[in-house]
């Protein structure tokens, strides 16, 4: 078991024939991901990386049975690509693109609200179920199969945490990079909930950063519904205030915006909070050892 994606997922790549799409699709295929084709409007009928190219996502769903899509489309066209995937019936949409205007994402969020799909990202490293499917840009070789689920806003910090987990003798079920933009499809709480309901995941690592209230929301959910140990880390304890958000925004975000405030709330909700990013793997190992 795992969450969102596994070896049976039928994956398509939107922006398949571009540089980014080609490079990462190749890596995903090497990892063993079941990539069934890709979409590049106007290039339908061609073959790329030994797989069919379709003009539309709808066609890819009908002809190749695609149920998962990964998007490598430039920022100006990415919102459109997400909505096309949602409309075509794709169940899991992973958007890697960084730099999508917030205005576009407000529309996307509204558009997909009543569609039967889950959006991961944008501006994220993707998702990976160890040894089964990599739908993202992460270095596959660091992920060993195991019982720890990871939820993170950040790319390289996820790799750091995963590497520590593996060096501590543990492994990963699914790692979900939720993305760092102000509007994302799957907030921390939803990703934690998915992993909490996965029987193969025995412990969860939750990595956040300054800004927004997602970690506090997730922590409160965990306090109420949590059944597994959660290790948490918040990046940006030393970040200067006010560099990322105007002061009116800080009011809406409330006092739960800073690293210290988030860590306090997480601790109060029963999460094992580590202060040093070097201690994430060891803390998870300790928590899992308590269960044994």
């Amino acid at each position: 078991m795992s969450v969102l994606v596994n070896k049976n997922s039928k994956v398509i790549v939107q922006g398949f024939t571009g540089n980014e799409g080609t490079y990462h699709a190749t890596q995903m295929i090497e990892y063993g991901t079941n990539v069934v084709g890709g979409v590049t409007p106007g290039k339908g009928g061609q073959t790329h990386l030994d797989r069919p190219v379709f003009n539309t996502v709808k066609e890819a769903v009908e002809k190749a049975g695609a149920d998962v899509s990964i998007i490598f489309v430039p920022p100006a066209f990415a919102a459109d690509a997400i909505m096309e995937a949602a409309e075509a019936g794709i169940k899991v949409i992973v958007c890697i693109t960084e730099g999508i205007p917030t205005k576009d994402m407000i529309q996307v969020k509204e558009y997909i609200a009543d569609k039967d799909c889950r959006l991961i990202g944008p501006n994220c490293p993707g998702i990976i179920t160890a040894d089964e499917a990599k739908i993202g840009i992460m270095p596959g070789f660091i992920f060993k199969k195991g019982n720890v689920g990871v939820v993170s806003k950040s790319g390289t910090l996820t790799y750091e945490a995963v590497d520590q987990v593996v060096k501590a003798g543990l492994g990963i079920t699914t790692a979900i990079g939720i993305g760092g933009d102000p509007i994302i499809g799957t907030p921390t709480k939803d990703a934690v909930e998915l992993l909490m309901n996965d029987p193969d995941t025995h412990g969860i690592i939750m990595i956040g950063e300054i800004g927004g209230g997602m970690e506090a929301e997730a922590a409160r959910w965990i306090k109420e519904h949590g059944t597994k140990p959660v290790v948490g880390f918040i990046a940006g304890q030393t970040a200067p205030p006010g560099r990322r958000m105007g002061h009116a925004g800080a009011i809406v975000g409330g006092a739960e915006d800073t690293a210290a405030a988030k860590m306090k709330i997480m601790s109060e909700c029963g999460i094992r909070v580590v202060e040093s990013p070097a201690g994430i793997g060891a803390a998870m190992a300790e928590e899992l050892a308590k269960l044994a």
């Binding site: 509204e110 790799y159 760092g180 997602m214 030393t238 040093s276």
Partner: protein
Amino acid sequence: MNIHEYQGKQILKSFGVRIQEGIVADTPEQAVEAAKKLKEDFGSDWVVVKAQIHAGGRGKGGGVKLAKNLDEVKQRASDIIGMQLITPQTGAEGKKVNKVLIAQDVYYPGESETKEFYVSVLLDRSRGRNIIMYSTEGGMDIEEVAEHTPHLIFKEEIDPKVGLQGFQTRKIAFNLGLSGNAFKEMTKFIAALYKAYEATDSSMFEINPVLKTSDDKILAVDAKVNLDDNGLFRHPDYAAMRDTTEEDPTEVEASESNLNYVKLDGNVGCMVNGAGLAMATMDIIKIAGGEPANFLDVGGTANATTVKAAFNIILKDPNVKAILINIFGGIVRCDRVAQGVIDAYKEIGDIRVPIIVRLQGTNAEEAKKLIDESGLKVFSAILLKEAADLVSEVLA
């Protein structure tokens, strides 16, 4: 992206938002000409001289002054232009004023009392929707209003399906206690303001104060406009409004090399790939007994050129006593980064602070070998914990 008040007002006006009219000036002479023109066009006898810097609280620092005649305009403008303006938002060193906005006096006496309000438009991240936040307590620090009288702050959410509706603008005007012509004016003002916010891809508007004049007009006396960096590709005319003299020169240089850099006050510089890991690296510097001197994300393509640019930027800061390079190689191969570090080090030559290089991920072992065999005064590590210990060691 931040822009000046005068630029923000130009944008608002182009969408039909009524503003306090004004003319920007670089010199006291231009300021006098501007005041004459305002008198001609709007009959404004008095004018306000307003320092144009990217920070709020300008009035508190002496950057906003009333002038009652042309001599005073010249005097005030020459006082303000060139001054180092210190406000609660600039930090202790303040910001140099290069331009002033000569603005019409809108607090003239008349049939009714003037009244100031607060209005902002911004994204509510938790809802993924824009809101209009407003208050009867205009002209004050909104943080203080939020702390002491939170019941005087109202929020109106905009449904992206249909946009801002008439009943919402009426609700806002009613909640602000307006009636008659001022009420109508406010509904128009809010509608135009929101239209401008959407059309410009803005990430925040803060209009404080919004003024009801003594003859019941509603207008923006100040305008803080933040544009969404990600939306600028659609607005080259707004992108051209960027004033790099308002930014830290090192940060500008960094952005030209595609490095995301923020200067801080500590003693340990760092160079990291990825924003999250960069923040985590700053945190580990602190835990190791240092203070981070900067945030620096080299992005997904750390090579000799970017590493060299990053070195040069970090070394400009005289407070830096050590540099920690922390790269987790995914797509980026660690041995390439290591070679970049070695090449940059040799090219710059005179690096007098210890450097700790921690490379993990793709080809990490090869990278460590390259660094160790380079003969340079560089400490290498593979685990983050080891890197932290090395930081403590070199600072001791």
